[in-house]
Symmetry: C2
Subunit: 447 residues, 2 copies
């Protein structure tokens, strides 16, 4: 019976014949026996193979080095050692592929994350990246599960677009070289699916996107990627308060899902990468997020007697140092900041009655800072037009967006989650290049 | 109580006060009563609102035209007509947004799909596109659910790449205009995540991608998109037969999921678009796919006495007319064609012992033709190198791909599903531009 290691280690049925595949992590020889630890990627736990040299020849076992791939047929038994665990007494070992110890880069010694980034094609074979990408998967699945169960429809907004949604940043252009004119107009890679997502919500009621977005910023930091994945739900017939409720419930749901389904990976990451990790995850899930108008946030920062690098002024955009002070020192829990001045927010956000602030909501997390940005959208055709005019925007280009306010407009709201930021938070990693399989950054599009 | 129409129509609890939102589909007035059908995108079924002019003024109701958006507060009751159904006796109606009958393009009359494609920002508000995109969502969710339950990890392969996976077609180039050199090397949009997906499978055991892919072909047909979504599972420790089992099980699972969860949308599509639809779906789910070596497929075609536009020759690539003959006339069920000549397949497919054919598998469906293409991958380092040399490929560019065969190589296999082809098949639509929200085709990247 062929079985994955994660499933085998769950059983308490011993003395059964099984067939297991994996890559060799370690191989330790004593006089008559070899102990081989293999891993098949299904779990952070290795499976121990006991190969008696009477059955499995020593000459053959010399080839079974770290990094090689084998199939083991044998009996799954309860080990007789102090710490009892399941292991396999090998009857037969098939060597699929060797890994020359002189050449294979992932030897037993520890490697820096920097080194592993340069061999991203092999780093999935390490405990740490196995854990990260299993957590990433489970977070992605939780996102689909959450929205599906809430009646949202997954909606694929275009990657190649001819409009810059929000002037959110520098764009990558898309051409065909010999024929610049494939689409008849200049085209670029999307920075956000929101505007098209609104079109979906204004017909289907509630949608979410989950796809790649792009920024051509020349930023070489541990927080920036040129290509990253965004989750953008959008819902008709809700206001900013419903939107805050949704975002808080959503974040807690997906983090709780990871806590429950990725226990051994999170324990591994907690023990090796970030010792406060699991406690921090529980704290976010178990505490109500503080909801704080922007003007109050500014007051708190002003009265903090803290010397910030960038001094506090009403009307300013909050900086990472300000966000972290509020979240990590003042409130000690996630915060939803609302009602920002319209000048520092996007054109599509709903204007409050004061004519000065908009119904924006940014969710700030410990360690991460802004993890979600959202708003109720301006649903009034004339107000939206006016704001676009004030900002000198091209209204002809967004005729379709404006029409949704002309025909059957409704209150609606949504938000955007940078998926890699969520994975950073839940894995406790600090460099965003380590939570996406093949990061794209300035001067780097390897693999 | 605020409730979605799909949930309300499921209840059998009548005489409760509810609040429902939606866009007006029709408004019919009799002497003292208005009957307003609204839809909120959650289901293909409209909800009937009964507005007595005593309570809701006639002057106000004049504004409640097709396309306008309203909230209705009232009592949910069982109608007294012949065909009993739940409806709402309105106590109060809030008009969110009007839709000027002179301007709103979606009046009651039927519109051509062609016309609706030009107003893709509004077409989600029609029954047909509501049905299509709800089915699309449920298929996407079923895909994630299937692979999650089978232990596959969702794996995001890069969209911007510097290598052309398989010479699969013309590439879109990615630049930053003022700085052609963002990545330090020429970059393009991916045509397939397979090669990077293999890297994932060769560490994590089993992965799947589900993301956008791109072809810059100047093809203006009802089957081609410049931007479309692909699903590409890849699994270590399996061979071509396991791969066929997986693909067949997978297709049946997701189609069965749609049959079970999208009943009313599929009935609508069956009745309005494609009358054989539901029968065809059941037939695919209930019959074993025929597995057929390529050489036998050629023999059958030769002996068919059919005059094909392109005559049959051993070694040729199968054409749509050939595929449809085999699937729709000869076998009358889906077919998996295997063991194609290596010359007409990609470099990474595993060579058979005959040195002539490769372990490819194409799944052919009625109406659609090829819906899945896959193979066992060449896991032998020397054979892979040799094939790449024969084809004059750039081995330096794919050093990382080759290294996976050098270090702990294992038998592995996978396949690719064009998601829009699946949506076409399950919705019974015939133009691929109608099953993706905002199609990208030559000269068209609107919205």
């Amino acid at each position: 019976m062929k079985i994955r290691i994660i499933d085998l280690l769950k059983t308490t049925t011993y003395n059964i014949n099984v067939s297991v595949n994996g890559w060799v992590r370690t191989h330790r020889q004593s006089k008559n026996i070899s102990f081989i630890a293999i891993n098949d990627g299904s779990t952070v736990h290795n499976l121990q193979i006991v190969a008696e040299h009477e059955k499995i020849k020593k000459d053959f076992l010399k080839l079974v080095t770290t990094g090689s791939a084998i199939r083991v047929d044998g009996m799954f038994v309860l080990s007789t050692g102090n710490q009892q665990h399941g292991e396999i007494i090998a009857q037969n070992i098939v060597l699929y592929g060797t890994a020359d110890p002189q050449e294979y880069p992932l030897q037993k010694k520890e490697h820096s994350l920097d080194f592993l980034r340069n061999i991203a094609h092999l780093r999935m074979r390490t405990n740490i990246f196995g854990a990260i990408f299993r957590v990433r998967h489970n977070l992605a699945f939780a996102i689909h599960k959450y929205f599906h169960e809430k009646g949202f429809f997954y909606f694929n907004t275009p990657i190649i677009t001819t409009s810059d949604a929000e002037g959110a940043g520098k764009l990558f252009e898309v051409t065909t070289g010999d024929n610049q004119d494939f689409f008849g107009v200049p085209a670029n890679l999307t920075v956000s699916g929101q505007l098209e997502g609104e079109l979906g919500a204004l017909g289907l009621g509630a949608i979410y996107t989950f796809g790649p977005t792009f920024r051509a910023e020349n930023s070489n930091t541990y927080r920036h990627l040129a290509e990253f994945w965004m989750v953008e739900p959008e819902m008709a017939f809700i206001d900013i308060n419903d939107n805050m409720d949704l975002a808080e419930d959503f974040l807690k749901y997906v983090i709780r899902y990871a806590i429950e389904t990725c226990e051994s990976d999170l324990i591994f990451l907690n023990n090796t990468v970030n010792s406060g990790l699991i406690e921090r995850l529980h704290s976010v899930v178990n505490n109500k997020f503080v909801r704080l108008p922007y003007s109050q946030a500014i007051e708190i920062l002003k009265q903090s007697n803290r010397e910030f690098e960038i001094p506090i002024l009403q009307g300013m955009d909050l900086n990472s140092e300000h966000e972290r002070f509020l979240v990590e020192e003042y409130f000690c829990c996630p915060i939803i900041v609302t009602n920002y001045p319209k000048e520092i927010k996007a054109f599509y956000m709903k204007l409050n009655e004061d004519d000065k602030t908009v119904r924006a909501m940014d969710i700030l997390f410990p360690q991460i800072g802004e993890i979600i940005g959202g708003s109720e959208r301006e649903s009034d055709y004339l107000k939206l037009r006016q704001r676009m005019e004030e900002l000198g925007m091209n209204m002809k280009q967004l005729w379709w967006y404006l029409e949704t306010r002309k025909f059957g407009t409704v209150p609606h709201a949504g938000f955007g989650l940078g998926f890699e930021r969520l994975v950073l938070f839940v894995t406790g990693m600090s460099n965003i290049r380590d939570v996406i399989p093949f990061p794209r950054t300035p001067k780097n599009a390897n693999f």
